[in-house]
């Protein structure tokens, strides 16, 4: 029923407005080229990951022994178990072959498949870094557009100032400070928040459990948001500033629209574009977690896993987590490119 109609439609359109069909095709072609580029980048990452980490100093076998005595026979045995007795080229092809089958190998230190380790840690990281991202983006965009719209106002001065001060604070320092003040409590301030982890040891069930996790999330999330939301604020603010003097804004004003409407319906949607790119790139980094924050608050996430892997060095675990992070960033970048193309017609014509 509908097929003939649909088939007929492009023909009509092609006759009518000539640039619509090529534009649609253009998007697809554009998307494909981007995806192709991304696949190439991922391939390079797989190759790079393997060799770059092999440059790290240190012998995993010795470090895993943790000061215990091991006879040369045992060391050789251990080397064989980890596959480190093969030549580097053989190890490389093993690694590529496995990776293409989505097998990230077995962690030296944990003795377990890297993929399952990552799977175990992923939810915690998603909760913390994802939640932090949503709050930081929301806070940043909201304050940024307000500040940009009323440049020089008290709101602008205070919000930009505060965000920049927080942005320049070392995460570790701020995290410990918050932990001391709101975790332990100082003077009249009670330490109401937990000092570690994602849940209490005797965590309750059901809704109370959700609350328990919520309590545990407050400080890490606060730290995470405090040090990053400035970038969203600044990007949003500066792109809004560019829009303020545009002709279409004047036109909207001249039409008699209220100030708020001009901002919300005209200026902000146009100014959102750079922020969208930034947000998509950041989504990629969510996977990497927040190494520092996770370490301060003993949050059992991916960042912490990566940190530990570097110390051994646990090659397979490092490769696995690093690849996950880079692939996520590449994919999100590609997605950002494509989404950008769709939401901003100007990119299409350019």
């Amino acid at each position: 029923m509908t097929t003939p109609l649909e088939a007929a439609e492009p023909a009509v359109q092609a006759a009518g407005s000539g640039d619509d069909r090529p534009a649609y095709r253009g998007t697809l072609k554009y998307a494909l080229s981007k995806v192709g580029g991304a696949l190439f980048s991922i391939a390079m990452v797989i190759v790079g990951t393997f060799f770059v980490f092999r440059l790290l100093p240190g012998d995993p076998v010795r470090n895993l022994a943790q000061g215990r005595n091991m006879t040369p026979t045992q060391l050789a045995l251990e080397r064989h178990r980890l596959g480190l007795d093969k030549s580097l080229i053989d190890q490389f092809f093993d690694f590529v072959g496995k990776t293409l089958h989505f097998d990230l190998g077995t962690s030296y230190e944990y003795n377990r498949p890297v993929l399952s380790l990552i799977g175990e840690r992923f939810p915690a990281t998603l909760l913390l870094a994802g939640g932090g991202l949503v709050i930081a983006v929301g806070l940043g965009i909201w304050q940024g557009q307000r500040a940009g719209w009323q440049r020089g106002s008290r709101f602008d001065q205070v919000s930009t100032g505060v965000s920049l001060v927080l942005w320049s604070m070392p995460t570790f320092w701020l995290g410990l400070l918050l932990l001391m003040v709101f975790g332990v409590g100082i003077g009249p301030i009670p330490g109401i928040f937990p000092t570690r982890g994602i849940e209490s040891v005797d965590a309750p069930d059901g809704f109370a459990y959700v609350l328990d996790v919520g309590m545990h999330m407050v400080l890490p999330c606060l730290t995470l948001v405090a040090v990053v939301y400035a970038q969203y604020l600044l990007v949003m603010r500066s792109s809004l500033l560019e829009e303020v003097s545009q002709d279409y804004v004047n036109v909207a004003r001249a039409k008699g629209l209220r100030d708020d409407q001009v901002r919300r319906r005209h200026a902000v949607p146009n100014a959102l574009l750079p922020t969208v790119t930034l947000v998509f790139m950041r989504i990629g980094f969510v996977v990497g977690g927040a190494v520092t924050v996770e370490t301060i608050y003993s949050w059992p996430g991916l960042g912490q896993l990566f940190y530990e892997a570097v110390r051994v060095p646990d090659f397979t675990l490092m490769q696995g987590t690093f690849m996950l992070i880079t692939v996520a960033v590449i994919l999100m970048n590609t997605l950002a490119d494509v989404v950008y193309h769709i939401i901003d017609p100007r990119v299409r014509s350019a």
């Binding site: 100093p57 240190g58 012998d59 010795r62 470090n63 895993l64 022994a65 943790q66 000061g67 215990r68 005595n69 091991m70 006879t71 040369p72 045992q74 060391l75 045995l77 178990r81 230190e109 944990y110 003795n111 377990r112 175990e120 929301g138 909201w142 410990l176 932990l179 001391m180 975790g183 332990v184 409590g185 330490g191 109401i192 937990p194 000092t195 570690r196 982890g197 994602i198 849940e199 209490s200 040891v201 005797d202 309750p204 809704f207 109370a208 609350l211 328990d212 919520g214 309590m215 209220r258 708020d260 996770e294 370490t295 301060i296 608050y297 003993s298 949050w299 059992p300 912490q304 060095p313």
Partner: protein, 604 residues
């Protein structure tokens, strides 16, 4: 968008405030229980004792399982654990252990079969060697006969009574097909130790319950929790707040930071560790070929001894370790191990004496140049040594500063080289690219292992495979004594031989012990009511070689008697409620004013 935020924020605050009350209620069922919460700055690597290598893992294993023997809680001498008694054949090659008639935590009887299966597993399965492979290296065969366990060794082994392998229940573990991949996350875990592991959240905590069938009797504590922190500062915050009851293995700065807290007891006793300088005695590989680039002057025992005289150990203990260490007048075995500890006396004792150090070097022909720096007797090379330390260790930085000052007094220049830990162990243990390096060793009740780190066989192989040497030392006298102590089953005689070995290390100075760092721990004295360290006299609570301290520990029950816990809870709930209320009111006020303003905007 604004309304959205406001609503979300409101909801969040409301939920959290409500959560306070809920959480307090949820904690109630635990009231009346005796719970000890131990903070550890390392998480468990594996619940499988054949694979786990971390210190925290062995600490937890000591509560879950029993061993053949255990250090006596009072004296640290080997004492019965799962083995009630034992005999040795005259040639010292056959050991017969009588296994105690007791029960596994699942009710099955413990037999010699279990022990035999455990040892044979480690001997035959390569994966099972991961944790404690060397402990069975010398085993010829292990067999069971009723409650009798017979171990035949290839060569005599006096240290047999400190076997570190926990005895596992055969009926549970023989079903495991691939030990390398087995996570052992089945709870409750079957064991025969004072506690039974009942729950584990990976990288977060391990929960253990008292074992009513433990052979010494049920522990006084109902529940033991090991709670993992990623960084020491957060753990200290947890201790101050009362989230945990005890932290062990603290550094001097961390230990200082818990000073003055009315609820925290600072536990400062002698430690199990010796800190020493490795002085490159002319590094060689196992085929006696030189390796590395150690300074030739250090091959001369006189130079090493002169360096020894030039070190003010008391000052190092006082100022580098903040007084939380004992200056070393012995060698690599700390005085905690009274029985084996050897201390230099009389003429042998090296005391801080710059004049004597200078005289030794003058007499040996190391003349001072115009710049005050000595040169080799042949005049070719100056006495300029490198001092290798680890990166990011403030204490070692400080030590390097002091040593540089000390050695300058005797015309020796010291320059500090900082290396990351893997590079450090490679250069000081395999490639021999060092002159003097900092090191240390945590010693077990039987000191055989730490002595073995100075054997010829521990040097790297010609192919560059490290053997775990702590000094590149290779000395016939020391080797001979080591072999003698291996065979000496008369404990008193063996102690004498081991003392001679320390004396040899002290006088020949391939390593110079500088101090014995104290064992620094902190615990909540408002919670923990009774502490029994091992050894009983000034011993360790956490991180020692015995699980006894946590077995013998007693605490106040939660709720009821402990005012701090319950009152604190309701107080914080109240305060959180008030704070939450204020925030909510503030938010509402903020919203109202914003609302009015935007209305005004729209009217324009």
């Amino acid at each position: 968008m604004r309304k959205w935020f406001a609503r979300l924020a409101l909801l969040g605050v409301a939920v959290l405030v409500a959560g306070q009350g809920q959480a307090a209620q949820a904690a109630e069922p635990a009231a009346g229980k005796k719970i000890v919460r131990i903070g550890a700055t390392q998480s468990m690597d594996s619940m499988n004792p054949f694979l786990a290598v971390r210190l925290v893992s062995s600490a937890i294993q000591r509560e879950m399982y029993s061993f053949l023997t255990t250090p006596d809680p009072k004296t640290l001498k080997p004492s019965p654990d799962l083995a009630e008694s034992w005999t040795t054949s005259p040639d010292g090659l056959t050991w017969t252990f009588k296994i105690r008639s007791t029960k596994w935590s699942d009710g099955q009887p413990v037999t010699a079969e279990d022990a035999a299966w455990t040892f044979n597993k480690v001997m035959t399965d390569d994966a099972a060697k991961t944790a404690n492979g060397p402990a069975v290296e010398n085993f010829e065969s292990v067999t069971a006969n009723g409650q009798d366990l017979v171990i035949k060794t290839k060569a005599p082994q006096a240290s047999m009574l400190e076997n570190p392998i926990p005895i596992m229940p055969k009926h549970v573990w023989e079903k495991v097909t691939d030990i390398a991949k087995y996570e052992a996350d089945v709870y409750p875990a079957v064991g025969s130790g004072p506690y039974i592991a009942v729950e584990q959240k990976k990288d977060q905590y391990v929960k253990l319950k008292a074992n009513p069938d433990y052979w010494r009797g049920r522990p006084k504590v109902d529940e033991l929790q090991f709670i993992f922190y990623d960084n020491p500062q957060a753990a200290i915050a947890g201790l101050k707040k009362g989230d945990i009851d005890l932290i062990g293995r603290m550094t001097p700065p961390d230990f200082e930071s818990i000073k003055g807290d009315p609820n925290i007891e600072q536990w400062n006793t002698q430690g199990r560790r010796a800190a020493y300088l490795e002085v490159n005695p002319g590094a060689t590989t196992t085929d006696n070929k030189p390796v590395g680039d150690g300074h030739p002057a250090l091959k001369d025992p006189k130079v090493r001894t002169a360096l020894h005289y030039a070190i003010d150990k008391q000052k190092l203990a006082d100022e580098v370790q903040s007084g939380l260490a004992k200056p070393a007048d012995g060698s690599i075995i700390p005085p905690l191990y009274k029985e084996f500890f050897w201390e230099a006396t009389g003429d042998q004792k090296v005391t801080y004496d710059v004049a004597k150090a200078n005289k030794i070097l003058d007499d040996a022909g190391y003349k001072k140049g115009a710049d005050g720096v000595r040169t080799m007797p042949d005049g070719k090379r100056k006495l300029e040594f490198r001092f290798s330390i680890h990166t990011d260790t403030p204490i070692e930085d400080k030590l390097a500063e002091y040593l540089t000052g000390f050695f300058k007094e005797i015309g020796v220049t010291l320059t500090t080289v900082k290396l990351d830990s893997s590079k450090f162990s490679e250069q000081t243990g395999v490639t021999g690219l060092y002159d003097i390096a900092i090191s240390g060793w945590s010693v077990n009740p039987d000191p055989e292992e730490v002595l073995a780190t100075h054997l010829c066989s521990r040097r790297p192989t010609p192919s560059g495979e490290g053997g775990g040497t702590e000094s590149f030392y290779c000395d016939p006298t020391f080797e001979k004594l080591y072999q003698e102590q291996l065979k000496e089953l008369d404990r008193a005689k063996r102690v004498e031989i081991i003392k001679k070995m320390q004396e040899r290390l002290y006088t020949d100075a391939p390593v110079i012990a500088i101090y014995y760092p104290n064992d620094l721990e902190g615990y909540r004295k408002d919670r923990i009511t009774s502490i029994t360290p091992v050894p009983e006299d000034k011993g360790l609570i956490y991180g020692g070689s015995s699980g006894y301290p946590f077995y013998a520990m007693d605490v106040k029950a939660t709720g009821g008697t402990s005012a701090a816990g319950s009152d604190g809870g309701s107080n914080t709930g109240l305060i959180a409620g008030v704070v939450g209320g204020v925030v909510v009111i503030g938010l509402v006020a903020f919203l109202l004013t914003r609302r009015r303003k935007s209305v005004a905007d729209e009217r324009e």
